[in-house]
């Protein structure tokens, strides 16, 4: 039935037919519902290939295929030979490059030679006629379907699944309860501690010295000349429990501007020291390190999504997808002349999160 409505059939003998779409013949007076389906145009006329007509071309194609196979053999052997002849020398990156390049060339040749040869063989030498292979229907025969129903009916009768409701219901209950231990286990994969508290605090605290990244040596205010940019970590970062996690939150960029260029908010007037300002290096968009500082325009560019912050104007966003200015670290100078933090950041650093109030 499916075959009939398609207008396509396997033909009388599979492998021989070039199907033609002809209108079905019906007796006169029978109503025919016109189908809006595109008619099957059938195969294009058979066109012999050059290799079918010219034995010389056929022989040339055969030779090409065998050359491709031989090339594959050469490639595979070459790969092994190159692997032995140009070994990876520890400490010499150049040798890795050479070894990989030659090994890759050899293996590529080995695989592509077989692939291209086989396809070329099939396309130009193997028999070239068109044929249709019909799919069988997916619906089972009526007897198969009846047998399947019988199996279920017998199973139900012998086990008493519908009749013995106590057994059935207790089994269903047991199945429902089985996954509960898994749920309990997966629940414990969540952070043991409330992460919001961790997001709101960094290693910075009152009196913590600003130190150079990566040496960890403290920085004197006098070291920071105008136009300088220092990459800063809190002193003692290496001794903390999770130095990398702490660094990811506490990284700071320290810059000194001409105090005349600095336009500070009145409530933050004492957060800087003689033109030295410290801002979080973590972008408020999605947390990339913002450190492309231009010392004349005082623009700070985030390389990930091109957010720009104006350091001269309390790091407000002047371009890009970031929504909030970079948090400023209030700084002061201790009695030995070293720069210290006045407190932790007054707002969470980095990108927004659900529980963030600001």
């Amino acid at each position: 039935m499916a075959n009939d409505s398609d207008g396509i059939t396997g033909g009388e003998a599979a492998g021989t037919a070039v199907e033609k779409a002809a209108p079905r013949e019906v007796a006169s007076g029978v109503g025919v519902v016109a189908s809006d389906r595109i008619e099957n145009p059938g195969f294009p006329p058979h066109r012999p290939r050059v290799t079918d007509e010219d034995p010389k071309k056929n022989y040339a194609a055969e030779r090409t295929v065998s050359i491709l196979f031989y090339l594959s053999i050469v490639g595979s052997i070459f790969a092994v030979a190159a692997y032995i002849a140009f070994p990876i020398v520890p400490g010499d990156p150049g040798s890795i490059r050479l070894n990989n390049a030659l090994l890759g060339t050899g293996i590529t040749l080995g695989l592509l030679g077989i692939g291209f040869g086989a396809v070329h063989w099939a396309k130009s030498i193997m028999d070239g006629h068109d044929l249709v292979e019909s799919r069988h229907g997916t619906r089972g025969s009526d007897s198969t379907r009846a047998a399947a129903v019988e199996v279920f009916r017998l199973g139900n009768k012998e086990s008493g699944f519908t009749r013995r409701s106590l057994l059935r219901n207790s089994l269903i209950g047991a199945l429902v309860v089985t996954p509960i231990p898994a749920i309990a286990l997966f629940r414990d994969l969540a952070p043991a501690e409330d992460p919001v508290g961790l997001l709101k605090h960094t290693l910075w605290d009152e009196g913590v010295r600003l130190a150079r990244d990566p040496e960890g040596t403290p920085i004197r205010a006098a070291d920071v000349t105008i136009g300088s940019a220092f990459h800063v970590i809190p002193e003692g970062l290496e001794d903390s429990e999770h130095p990398l996690e702490e660094k990811a939150k506490a990284a700071v960029l320290l810059m000194r501007l001409n105090p005349g260029d600095l336009n500070e908010l009145p409530e933050r007037a004492d957060w800087s020291y003689d033109g030295i300002v410290a801002y979080s290096k973590i972008c408020t968009h999605v947390g990339c390190p913002v450190a492309l500082y231009e010392q004349q325009t005082h623009h700070l560019l985030c390389p990930c999504h091109q957010s720009q912050f104006d350091v001269a104007n309390h790091a407000q966003v002047i371009f890009g997808p970031a929504k909030r200015p970079l948090p400023q670290l209030p700084i002061a100078v201790d009695e030995e002349g070293y720069l210290v933090a006045q407190s932790d950041f007054t707002e969470p650093v980095g990108p927004s999160f659900w529980e963030r109030s600001l």
């Binding site: 990156p93 396309k123 990566p214 300088s228 390190p289 325009t297 623009h299 560019l301």
Partner: protein, 263 residues
């Protein structure tokens, strides 16, 4: 003093020793003073000559924008206190004299001879002291490349790219590629912070660490990328473009060939 007496005692007059010492001291001291005096005078003269030459060059080539007394004008910043290092970098890489006003001064063929650059540097440094041209010992590239690489990654890589291939900044400005840059210019750039580059003074990155950075950059230049073609080390843009055009192009071509009928 008779000869006999001398032979007998084996002693000269104590005064003779004193006289000899005086003569000796006077001769060596006088000669030293004489020679060093000449040398200093010569150095000063040569130096003065350089400063004078530099002043002429400055007036002829730089004063339009930077002012007759280095005080700066609307079109160019003051050069008071920028130091010899800054002049050697800006003029020695061809960035100055500026070709045209733009987002930033671009590297171009050097406009002056080495002597002229030196004269300009001496002149600018003679007006007010500033960072000096670095010592040769830091420019040899014989430091620790691994330490240099770490400091480079933290302080330089965000703009100049981890492989020193350069990168874009805001509003048409860019951090130039560092490949092929002379060690002395790399050092001077860190020391003086040309244009929008921040200053990395010796208190921030010590001279030894600057030498390590130079070593790292040299190492990058001399060693090919172990990963094969680096495609300019520009990262995902260049690599993505390559694989989308050539990789996908090859796949499309093979697919077309697979399904095309043999002629």
């Amino acid at each position: 003093m008779s000869k006999k007496r001398t032979a007998k005692t084996g002693r000269r007059s104590p005064l003779a020793t004193l006289a000899l010492l005086t003569v000796g001291l006077a001769t060596t001291g006088g000669a030293y003073a004489l020679f060093t005096g000449t040398a200093t005078a010569e150095t000063t003269a040569v130096h003065q000559q350089l400063v004078d030459d530099g002043e002429k060059l400055f007036v002829a080539n730089c004063a339009t924008c930077h002012g007759m007394d280095l005080e700066g004008t609307e079109t160019g910043p003051s050069l008071v206190g920028v130091g010899a290092a800054s002049v050697d970098f800006q003029v020695g890489t061809g960035r100055m004299p500026l070709q045209q006003q733009g987002p930033q001064a671009e590297e171009k063929p050097v406009q002056f001879t080495e002597e002229q650059v030196q004269a300009l540097a001496e002149y600018v440094a003679s007006i007010a002291p500033g960072p000096e041209i670095p010592e040769e010992e830091y420019l040899t590239g014989k430091g620790d490349a691994a330490v240099g690489a770490e400091i480079f990654r933290i302080n330089c890589a965000m703009c100049h790219n981890v492989a020193g291939a350069g990168g874009a900044l805001t509003e048409g400005k860019y951090a130039p590629a560092l490949t092929g840059t002379e060690a002395v210019h790399v050092y001077e750039a860190m020391l003086t912070g040309p244009q929008n580059m921040p200053v990395f003074n010796d208190a921030n990155i010590s001279p030894e660490d600057k030498a390590n950075i130079i070593t790292y950059l040299k190492y990058l230049e001399e060693n090919p990328s172990p990963g094969g073609f680096d495609l300019g080390n520009l990262g995902p843009v260049a690599e993505g473009l390559f694989i989308w055009i050539f990789g996908l192009g090859a796949i499309v071509a093979i697919t077309v060939w697979l399904t095309a009928k043999s002629n």
